[in-house]
Amino acid sequence: MSSIEVVWFVVVFVFVLVALARGYHRELGTTIIILLAAFIMFALTEKVDHFVSTTMAPYFRVDAKSETVEAIELLFFLTFFLVTLMGNYIGFGISAGGVPTAKGINRFFLNVAVGAVNGILTVSVVWFYFDYYHYPYTKQARLFFPETMSGFARSIVHALSTHLDVLLGTDVTYVGVVAALLLLFIVIRK
């Protein structure tokens, strides 16, 4: 197991701990927020890429395909995602309301499972963007060397590249999926 996998497993573990503290009824709101944020990001990716490479790059006189441009784009999306996520945690997100009815082992399992789902979603989105922008400046900072990724990590990245941008992609049908999910959520709550 390479260092990047350890980091991501730790992140998922932290999400599980947060879910154990907050409860799955609050964490479900986070799940919806992550899905919506991911959808917005995926829908905007090509537009942001186009804007940065055609408008900002010439202005600052840097190559449109340089590492700096990719780092700026990555920073933009990571900032958007993390601000949205943190905004949800400090009270600006969607809340399921109500109280958890599961008890005992079921409640514990649900807290852990929903936390893990949120952690996996977050890690997947962040990792996808790092990979999409080719891990800018991570080598210079001696943080991460993509060549050292294990087979398992490569398979995860490959799965994210081939599936995530289709499931969360710019295809308009995804709007329907998110809408249906939210609708189902609201219907069940009522």
């Binding site: 964490e27 479900l28 009815t101 929903v114 893990a116 789902v117 996996i120 979603l121 295809d171 999926v177």
Partner: protein, 213 residues
Amino acid sequence: MNTIGAPPDVQASITLLFFLLLFGWWGIHRGFIRELVVFVGLIFLRVDQGHILISLFNWFRFTLQLAALLFRNRHKGASAVFGNASNVYKATVASGSANNAETTTVLLGLLLATIVLIYVVSGLFKRKLPGFGALLGALNGYLLGSWLLPALPHALPTPQVISGGVSDAANNQAGQLLAQGLSKTQSILGLDPFYLIVVVCVAVVIWAMREIG
């Protein structure tokens, strides 16, 4: 957005997601034990690759013929019904075409009837553990989806239906054709671990939504 490798069918993915939601929701109401019975049944069908279905269908046909013989002299009406059923089947076999629509319909109907039967039998068991039922229900939905959904946009591969009296080699060929059809549906949606993770995540979310008062 660029994709590395071949992207899966978006329509199939979206439809599969709704399939999982539906079956996960159903699993909550049916409970873990019932879904476990269905799961075992579906796994058996998948492992067997349809050999038992073909054998059972052949036996059913023999029964029809036998019944037709028995009733022929006494009840003309019954004879006509059974005789017609047998004739339709004979025509299907005689054509021997892999693209025969009747053969496809018969096999697909047979598969659906078996799945319905499995669900009916599972209903005899008690409803317990609704949360875990959602997990297993979504997994059953995934198994069924990977079988049946590709049959909607794509032409279903059509194996030959073998009647009694045909050689073992031909019977094996029919089994292989059905197996190829099933493996093709597998490759379209794929038994990719990614989808299994999606299944589990969706089931967890459904269960958690259910457990909020």
